[in-house]
Symmetry: C2
Amino acid sequence: MPDTKPRANGERVLADLNALRSLGAYKTGVHKPTFSEPHKQSLDWLVQKLPEAGLTGAIDGIGNILGTSAKAGPKLLAGSHLESQNYAGWLDGPLGVVYALEAARVLNTDPSVKGAVEVAAWCDEEGHFGSFLGSRSYVGQVTEAEIDAARDRTNGRTMRDALTDMGLTGRARIAAEPGRHVGYLEAHIEQGDTLESGKLAIGVVTSIVGIWQYRINFAGEQNHAGTTRMAVRKDAGLALAKFCVAVDQRFPAACGPRTVWTTGRITLDPGAPSIIPGGAEMLFQIRDDNPAVIARLEELLRTTADEANAKGPCTVNVERIRVGAPAMMDSRFQDAIEAASKAVADGRSVRMPSGAGHDAQMLAAIMPAGMLFVPSIGGISHHWTENTADTDVVTGAQVFVDACRRILAG
Amino acid sequence: MPDTKPRANGERVLADLNALRSLGAYKTGVHKPTFSEPHKQSLDWLVQKLPEAGLTGAIDGIGNILGTSAKAGPKLLAGSHLESQNYAGWLDGPLGVVYALEAARVLNTDPSVKGAVEVAAWCDEEGHFGSFLGSRSYVGQVTEAEIDAARDRTNGRTMRDALTDMGLTGRARIAAEPGRHVGYLEAHIEQGDTLESGKLAIGVVTSIVGIWQYRINFAGEQNHAGTTRMAVRKDAGLALAKFCVAVDQRFPAACGPRTVWTTGRITLDPGAPSIIPGGAEMLFQIRDDNPAVIARLEELLRTTADEANAKGPCTVNVERIRVGAPAMMDSRFQDAIEAASKAVADGRSVRMPSGAGHDAQMLAAIMPAGMLFVPSIGGISHHWTENTADTDVVTGAQVFVDACRRILAG
């Protein structure tokens, strides 16, 4: 019996992605910050595309788009984001929106499919003005006061001014309608090299890792770099370097198989070439999808600090400044993606956590959620060279559409 | 036979130092940046004081003062600087100027003393606009182009604007007159704790250390802090921390008895909490008065970098950006200070190098030069809490005047 199931149109998917790449093009990627002109053009582009999928929608008061369907039956919410990091890649965000649009075009117009896919573009997933403002607004976590205070991290423009420039002032924000959706499905580039190195086509996301962030301060004694003997120095910068190395030596024995930890920022005080640093600070983060692993590593971090304090000559203080609980992806959604992968991608999939944050983790707070990944060439992300092979983009679209069909079919 | 040699007037010295402290007072110290109003007031104060010592002088075109004497006989140049670091101590600079003034008051007016002390205040020793601009101008090392380009490192004001505000535009700069001086003597606070910890009153400076400075760059691979597995990371910040720790472990076995080394500034690129640093840079300096020791340590620095490069995953590049040859203090000047210390300070002196830079190292390029140190309480320097016990200030003045007398007597 021939497979007559509805299929994604790979050429249409690639054409749409390239159309979005042409808005704000930068080298082979895009520069499309939240509320920039190319971002606005991309949102307008999506609104104009929605009718092809039997959907209607507009940009809401925070820059979200939700295309809704009048079709009877279950509704599956699907989408991602359209803005980019500064001077970054063309697929980070648009891939998930175009897959959702394609699934809606294929499934909503098919009378044999019960229900419909509704398409969302969540604003500012990339955090130019805040943290997941669009998806958090949809699930009811963003106050007007938060918007009042938000500013573009690159140029300081207030979010209120940006919304005015976008013509969105006074528009209502779309809020989740309890019970409307059977769940949320999002596709994204992997942003790592797990799929590529395993010659796989699809990542079935099991969870989105939690991010625990720490401010670690070192206090020594600021002094003259010429006249202060080595024996009496209290060099906070050296204390910090030793701490980084100790963490690097100790964490591997205590971490989980996919734990990652990063010191992304180091500041010495006063930071002058001829002054022994009296203070030093590092921003440190741990990501894992298992809170027990995080707890174990935090304990190790504090033990390492205690030992450094006991040894001297500087003091160390570990302050936890951010706790992000992992978001678990719905097991039935994982099964649906895996089944779709077997059906249309020779089963070249693997279950894996997401080390990066995504809108799906916000949606997971109010409905079942799932995510699928496609391979990133070289694992490169947040850079204009980010890319995915066209064949992988098309395969991902096929799996996505089939997964949506399976979820709608229950 | 009673000692009838001319002595410093301790009360007068302390009164003068306190008068200078009252100009730009900040807590128990001063805030007296180069070409600030309190700096100008301090320069005016000195010009008005010069006649008490039989000297005449004015502020020159770069903010230097040189009080000259018409007295017959040898001339000894003596002085220091009157501006301060921002929010710093009251004695760093003024001590040496007031000692010189006191020596001139005592000796120039004494007909039994052959010759005279001439008093200098060198502008901007603290480097607000450049590097030793005043003393370097006097010895002929500052071009007009360097002044054109100089800006206040705190607020960006051009040096030309500052000179105009000071009313100095168009004034000539005083230049050294070959053969006029038998040498240069400068007193300064130690800025370290060698004298205090040894319960000593006087440091006889043997040399002013050279400062070698390096920019050490680490290149890794910038990537996403959530999606990039630990095993494939090239974290430039971690490479830097390991390098700092390696230097800390290896240098003690290769350094001289007074070598110091400092990492004063660390920068991670891009320095964001969720991005693995693709680049890192540290400013590193070594100070010693023995070029052979410096050469040995630089070799060790480069060996450490070679080993890190061989090991990977990041690359390290060591670039020497500043070479400062040590300046040797004249041995006869050292003997004169030591003899004076024996005569008026119970011989509580020690010969020691200066780990900090001073105007004397510039003057040493064109004439014999010497320096003496007085104790710094707790070794504290470049901070408003910097201080020296009054008794030590007075003892230092006695030794300074006696040393000047001995040098003039040949």
